[in-house]
């Protein structure tokens, strides 16, 4: 399932990241990679507030929709 369709405040596991290499590498440095935990806190217009490890990020919809997760 796409991360953008997930229930808020519930933890999911990243299954696959379908971004280009540079974007995927950036997400990796934040601790977002296949197998890592991720959760969405809320949506702010075209961006999501996403929690990765102990930090929160505003991430745009386009990227969020390239992250596939499972419950």
């Amino acid at each position: 399932m796409i991360l953008g369709q997930c229930e808020f405040n519930k933890k999911y596991f990243v299954e696959k990241i379908e971004c280009n290499e540079k974007e995927a590498r950036y997400l990796l440095t934040l601790g977002c990679y296949a197998g890592s935990e991720i959760l969405i806190i809320s949506k702010v217009s075209n961006n999501y507030i996403v929690k990765i490890l102990d930090s929160k990020y505003g991430i745009n919809e386009k990227i969020v929709n390239k992250i596939k997760v499972k419950g």
Binding site: K10, Y26, L27, G31, S36, I41, N46, G58, K62
Partner: protein
């Protein structure tokens, strides 16, 4: 010994650096405050005079994404520091270790410093330092940059001899796995199944709310400007402008000089040239101190990152990024740090557009011009000041749309912005920061502006044959001004005095009011501020408004142009940027004068025909550029 501080954005490096060196580097609660490296000697109290510390911009890894992160990598690889202090964000140790492991692979002596000890304690986290040190193969010190806890230990640790062991080679597949192991072995961090919203999340619910977010932002900015321009700042500025620099000081000096029988010439130079000019600038000091104080509080709270998030959707539409709002807010204080703050924007096109548009935000140096012209020409209209801010937003939006059409680019690429937890802004820091800015302002007023004013005064007092100009019209300044004056006719700026003020305005916008004070021969601001004074003879309200607009949108000062040069990293783009800003300022002022004169005075202004020609040519040129980029795209 050269020690560098490296770590993730917003991990508290600069706070540590400031504590260790006694410097006053700006800190804030969002990523990307430190955009270039800074270095300084260690404070004396640590008793190690041979240590130089270098503070580098934050980075999540050695494979950077934004341009500010490049500095870190280049520095470590090229400057071979004696020791790295890797500052680990205590609030997110696991993420920080990604960078840590990459740094360890460089085989440079290193100490890990886990900062934000207060947060670790608050969360009841326990870190087994011995285990972690064994895993990573380097010393680890716990610190709290806010209160200085652990800093002496950290400095003692730097003295120890250390052997650099070859660190295991990790790649992108097993690095995260290794980090997980380190965390599991050496901390008591438990996985939680359900996420509880924190206090910051609750604040975020309100400030990023669909309907409330934008009004709250504009509300906060209105309060900031009201407090600085009308409230406390305005009150003290009025006193300085209307009493101290207008009466007290000139009267005192005139009396003093008369008693000392100083020559009238020197008396004129000092009272009119120096006090008149500098007073016109320094009078606004209280206003600027209050503005910078409030901006420092905002930066320190963590709110700016949220503003970038809520404004993103709107800024995308005009070809910018949500992150463009931070340079613009910083730019209300000064365009120089504003332009520098664009480095956090990932997309190169969005960054260039932000560099071009940030100087349109009225900076503190433009406030004296706004204040002066609104008092003289629109004494009954209290909204001219706020109107200028609204107008700058409108112009940024329109200019953004035009630029997006000229330089076709997609701007829906990666946008990731860390949202740090809110914190209570430090009053002490805000005071120190605003006084530091005030110091810079006074320094500028007493150096470059003083010199320029003296030159301007001499130029208007002497003829080219270096005789005292009995009539100002024969002075050097008048002759130089007359050369440029024809260019300004379509704008309705008649006379060499305004040409002179326009030229000095390119050096620094503080100069505009100061130059007017000198060339009109008024001491202090009462005369200058009077609705029937000399200024009212040079302008009518329409051309006065045009002059204000012109100065608002032309490049703010040499320093800002320098910053644009650094950030564009290309002379071609710098020329485009300056050309664009000058053109916007010129055309807007021209439109105000020409259309305003027809509407208000029911007649054509001077230079109506040239204005039409200039307008047709510029519209034609812009259309040409847009069509060309359209073709290139197909």
């Amino acid at each position: 010994m050269k020690i560098i501080l490296v770590g993730n954005p917003n991990c508290g490096k600069t706070t540590l650096y400031n504590k260790l060196t006694g410097e006053k580097g700006s800190v804030g609660n969002y990523s990307g405050i430190t955009v270039s490296k800074r270095e300084s000697k260690l404070k004396e109290e640590y008793g190690k005079s041979n240590i130089t510390l270098v503070d580098l911009p934050g980075s999540y890894s050695l494979t950077p994404y934004t341009s500010e992160e490049n500095i870190t990598k280049d520095y470590i690889l090229n400057e071979s520091p004696d020791l790295i202090i890797n500052v680990v964000d205590g609030a997110n140790i696991e993420r920080s270790l990604f960078f840590t492991t990459q740094l360890l692979e460089l085989n440079v002596p290193m100490i890990v410093c886990i900062n934000k000890l207060d947060i670790i304690k608050k969360r009841d986290e326990i870190i087994d330092l011995t285990k972690m040190e064994k895993e990573l193969g380097c010393s680890i010190i716990l610190t709290n940059g806010q209160n200085g806890e652990g800093l002496h230990l950290l400095i003692e640790e730097t003295e120890k001899k250390r052997v650099v062991k070859q660190f295991k080679k990790l790649d992108k597949d097993n690095r995260q796995q290794y980090i997980r192991e380190v965390i599991n072995k050496s901390t008591n961090k438990k996985a939680v199944s359900k996420y509880e919203n924190t206090k910051s999340d609750k604040i975020d619910k309100v400030v990023t709310n669909k309907y409330l977010g934008v009004p709250i932002f504009f509300g906060i900015m209105t309060i900031v400007f009201w407090l600085s321009q009308r409230g406390v700042g305005g009150y003290f500025s009025d006193y300085l402008n209307e009493i101290f620099f207008a009466e007290t000081l000139p009267n005192y000096l005139n009396n003093l000089f008369s008693n000392l029988e100083v020559s009238k010439m020197l008396q004129g130079l000092i009272v009119e040239g120096v006090v008149g000019g500098i007073g016109a600038v320094l009078g606004f000091l209280p206003l600027i101190i209050v503005l910078f104080f409030l901006l420092a509080l905002l930066e320190d709270s963590g709110y700016l990152a949220r503003v970038a998030l809520i404004m993103d959707v709107y800024l995308r539409k005009v070809g910018l990024s949500g992150k463009s709002i931070i340079p613009m807010i910083v730019g209300t204080g000064c365009s120089v740090p504003g332009v520098m703050a664009t480095r956090t924007i990932e997309n190169d096109n969005e960054r260039k557009m932000t560099i071009m548009l940030t100087p349109f935000v009225p900076c503190s140096a433009k406030m004296p011009i706004i204040a002066l012209f609104s008092v003289v020409f629109f004494p009954t209209l209290p909204f001219i000041g706020p109107l200028m801010y609204i107008l700058s937003i409108v112009v940024i939006v329109l200019a953004g749309l035009i630029l997006k059409k000229i330089f076709k680019y997609s701007n829906d690429s990666l946008f990731i912005l860390e949202l740090p937890d809110y914190k209570m802004p430090s009053l002490k820091y805000a005071i120190v920061n605003s006084l530091d800015k005030a110091k810079g302002f006074i320094y500028k007023a007493t150096t470059i502006i003083l010199v320029m004013n003296t030159v301007i005064w001499l130029m208007q007092a002497y003829t080219p044959k270096l005789e005292v100009a009995l009539n100002q019209e024969n002075s050097i300044l008048a002759i130089v001004g007359t050369f440029i004056a024809p260019l300004l006719i379509p704008l309705g700026f008649a006379g060499w005095q305004l040409a002179a003020a326009t030229i000095t305005g390119f050096v620094a916008k503080e100069e505009v009011v100061a130059t007017l004070a000198v060339v009109l021969g008024v001491t202090g601001e009462t005369l200058l501020f009077s609705t029937t004074g000399p200024l009212a003879q040079l302008f009518n309200p329409v051309t006065g408004f045009a002059f204000l607009i012109f100065n608002l949108f032309t490049p703010p000062c040499f320093a800002a142009i320098g910053a644009m040069n650094t950030e564009f990293k290309s002379k071609k783009w710098l020329m485009r940027g300056i050309g664009f800003q000058v053109a916007v300022g010129y055309i807007l002022a021209m439109l105000v004068t020409q259309i305003g004169t027809i509407l208000v005075y029911k007649k054509l202004a001077d230079g109506f025909i040239p204005s039409i020609i200039i307008l047709i040519l510029s519209v034609g040129y812009v259309t040409f550029l847009m069509m060309k980029s359209e073709e290139n795209n197909e």
